[in-house]
């Protein structure tokens, strides 16, 4: 039976579902590391987040947006769930995870009309809501504990960026010598493998970079946002360090490897829906994210600025899109 179709008569294998699933696969190294280091508690946070996000997505889609198509099948809610979990500490009470999922899916995503319509990154919205509402719980970081699945007798500690912040005399209220904090900063090897305190998915640089390599290989994202975001942070901190006498505090490498920068630059800032479309726009967006991240880290009371930086830049995306329209072939001007 001969069929008819419109041109082109062939389509690429990539679908919304496959793109989203690729992101889930790219997160796998990070998820494995988080379970190895943070054990059962990490598993519980992940499972709770995924269950809650999928449930909220299904309910909103079916009974609020009244859509026929089941939107949970496109994996976008799974990505939101995993990214939310990745940005939480492993010992967060699970009910808070559900709250975060509610804000992420119901408020940040579905109330704007669902996938493709939201302005702010859902996972980050959920995280920032939790961070502002439950600051104590959200800044209590269990230290990684390898080969200890049930996580018995795990101590909590400060993240690298918190150590840097505490050492800052102007914000620190403790009697300790500033350098005691700075001397506690883990070495680069621990930062790269992820054997440091922090939220589930932000600790291991190597796992996150593996994810980046996979996303680039599968053409899911382009290199612009991660590259320019990380480069901006590195260069800005480096320039600041030239005017400072505290090399440990303003180590550009430490700033790149710690906190949520890699997780944010690779997985959050590259979210299609909430980042600019053209390459030029992506570069503007990434540089903005980088500058804001460093500004928040170095000058405010918060030790970490990635979430705020990306959410603030999300708001500028329509504007950036308007000023970064690519030059059309044959219309003159520079390429």
């Amino acid at each position: 039976m001969l069929k008819k179709s419109t041109t082109p008569h062939m389509l690429s294998n990539q679908t919304t579902q496959s793109v989203m699933f690729d992101v889930v696969l790219a997160l796998f190294p990070t998820l494995i590391v988080s379970v190895l280091f943070f054990g059962l508690k990490a598993v519980l946070v992940l499972v709770t987040s995924v269950t809650a996000c999928l449930t909220f997505e299904y309910i909103c889609n079916r009974f609020w947006l009244m859509k026929e198509r089941n939107s949970t099948r496109d994996f976008s809610a799974v990505i939101t769930a995993l990214l939310l979990a990745c940005s939480l500490p492993s010992n967060l009470p699970l009910i808070f995870v559900v709250f975060g999922a509610f804000v992420a899916i119901v408020i940040a995503k579905m109330s704007f009309g669902g996938l493709g319509k939201n302005i702010f990154n859902p996972a980050l919205s959920g995280r920032v809501f939790l961070f502002l509402s439950f600051p104590v719980y959200m800044t209590s970081w269990p230290k990684p504990s390898f080969n200890n699945f049930f996580q018995q007798d795990v101590s909590t500690g400060a993240t690298t960026l918190e150590l840097i912040k505490y050492s800052d005399a102007s914000t620190s209220a403790t009697r300790l010598d500033n350098n005691d904090y700075l001397n506690e900063i883990p070495d680069y090897f621990d930062m790269i493998t992820g054997y440091i305190a922090g939220s589930l998915g932000e600790v291991s640089a190597i796992a996150l970079l593996l994810g980046l390599a996979y996303l680039l290989y599968r053409n899911v994202i382009t290199w612009h946002i991660p590259f320019f975001y990380i480069l901006t942070v590195f260069l800005t901190v480096y320039v600041v360090s030239l005017f400072s006498e505290e090399p440990l505090k303003y180590s550009a490498v430490t700033h790149v490897l710690s906190g949520g920068l890699l997780l944010g630059a690779i997985f959050m800032a590259t979210d299609y829906v909430t980042s600019p479309m053209s390459e030029k726009g992506k570069i503007i967006f990434a540089i903005g994210c980088g500058l804001l991240t460093v500004l928040i880290r170095l000058t405010t009371v918060y030790s970490e600025g990635v979430s705020f930086a990306i959410l603030i830049m999300n708001a500028f995306v329509p504007f950036i899109d308007r000023i970064s329209v690519p030059r059309i072939y044959g219309t003159g001007g520079k390429k």
Partner: protein, 423 residues
């Protein structure tokens, strides 16, 4: 490349690359198209019942932009309708004036008018798929200066190998054809553009062009749609064709290598365009091959000769998978424009349009750097002024936007409708 990754790398499926061109044979009937070319339909000069020979003029170019149509077989005209002249084939017999010998002729006629008349009489049109009458394209209006002739040997549609085979087997004829056009245009600068996957053709052409003045070969990157005129001019010259202008306005004339071979045949051998190379390929064809096919040969005859089980075929394409047309009527004949017939076991999957996820792939790969998603949105919103602003009319219909869209939005369909609305 920092800001734009125009074009895409398609899986090329050039299955018939190593198959020499062979004659497909004589169908029992042919239906020769009268209005497949761009411009006015040709007007029949024969009557039903007339006996015709190969190469005999069947229909005359009507008006300036039009093309002659010749008999591709000998036989009796059975019917003349609006679209076709149908002929029942008898034994093969050709007009006497055609030179069928294999002898290479290198002596190019001096008189430009004579060359142009031979091309016009032979009914040559753009064989890469455009179908624009070649004599018009080669008549440069006074005041326009031509710098360069570009021969298009890219053939960027998947499956197609006819042009590549021509460049391998008829390389010298093509080079002489280029020199004929050079003379016509009064230049000494022809560039044969070949993509990097056709290394062998590149080598052969390079060695031949060493013996001739004014013809060179250039190797280009392999991507789709490198063979589109605007892309090709840019790749060869580094200059863009301004929006709304033709390559000729910038001093470039682009001709497909198949057309150039036909020009050689017409000028040196007095042979009108009544047959062409057709790639017969696709996964439903056991042995994909390149055939010399008489114009008007029905697809059913090709299917039979290529041993295609038509029951297995879900999609039948005349032309390539990116820009070709699918047909459901096996009596459809091959025209001067058709470089391939593809028999595919699987039709394009039926997909449901889902919501745009702003991935930017359509814009990122668009060779013209348009924003297909924005054009589709403006069309849906009925925002005509914005369609102009987004330059919807500059779209070259390459289909990349629809191809890459993960949300399976038929972007090209929307753009085509948008163009109709504002044209």
């Amino acid at each position: 490349m920092l800001f734009n990754i125009v074009g895409i790398n398609l899986k090329k499926n050039k299955l018939s690359r190593h198959e020499a061109i062979r004659d497909i044979g004589l169908p029992k009937t042919v239906s020769i198209p009268l209005k497949k070319h761009i411009g006015h339909p040709a007007v029949a000069v024969v009557n039903e019942g007339d006996k015709v020979k190969i190469g005999m003029l069947l229909a005359k170019a009507n008006n300036t932009i039009s093309a002659n149509v010749h008999a591709s077989v000998a036989g009796r005209v059975s019917k003349i309708d609006e679209d076709y002249i149908h002929i029942n084939t008898s034994k093969d017999e050709a007009e006497d004036y055609i030179d069928f010998s294999d002898e290479l002729i290198t002596e190019i006629p001096q008189d430009k008018e004579e060359i142009l008349a031979l091309i016009r009489d032979a009914g040559i049109v753009g064989m890469g798929g455009a179908g624009f009458p070649t004599d018009i394209k080669l008549s440069v209006p006074t005041g326009k200066e031509i710098k360069c002739l570009i021969l298009n040997g890219i053939e960027c549609e998947p499956y197609f190998t006819g042009d590549e085979r021509l460049m391998l087997e008829k390389a010298e004829e093509i080079v002489i054809g280029a020199r004929i056009i050079n003379r016509l245009l009064g230049i000494q600068n022809a560039i044969i553009a070949v993509d990097e996957k056709k290394k062998k053709a590149f080598e052969i052409l390079t060695s031949i062009t060493k013996r001739y003045i004014g013809v060179n070969v250039k190797l280009l990157t392999n991507k789709y749609p490198q063979g589109a005129e605007k892309m090709l001019v840019e790749a060869v010259s580094g200059e863009e064709v301004p929006s709304g202008k033709l390559p000729m306005d910038m001093g470039y004339v682009v001709q497909n290598v198949g057309t150039v071979y036909a020009i050689y045949q017409a000028v040196m051998k007095k042979k009108p365009l009544y047959e062409r190379v057709v790639t017969v390929s696709g996964d439903a064809v056991a042995k994909p091959k390149n055939y010399m096919v008489r114009i008007g040969t029905p697809v059913s005859f090709i299917a039979e000769k290529a041993k295609v089980d038509i029951k297995e075929v879900e999609e039948l394409l005349i032309g390539g998978p990116m820009m070709g047309t699918d047909i459901d009527d096996l009596s459809t004949p091959v025209s001067k424009l058709d470089g391939g017939v593809l028999f595919l076991k699987k039709a394009k999957p039926e997909t449901e349009e889902s919501v745009c996820i702003r991935c930017n792939k359509c814009a990122q790969h668009c060779p013209i750097a348009l924003q297909p998603f924005a054009i589709a949105n403006s069309y849906k919103a009925g925002d005509k002024p914005n369609l102009y602003k987004l330059r919807a009319l500059d779209c070259i219909n390459c289909g990349i936007c629809s191809y890459v869209c993960p949300a399976k939005i038929p972007l090209l369909d929307y753009i085509k409708q948008a163009k109709n609305e504002i044209r």
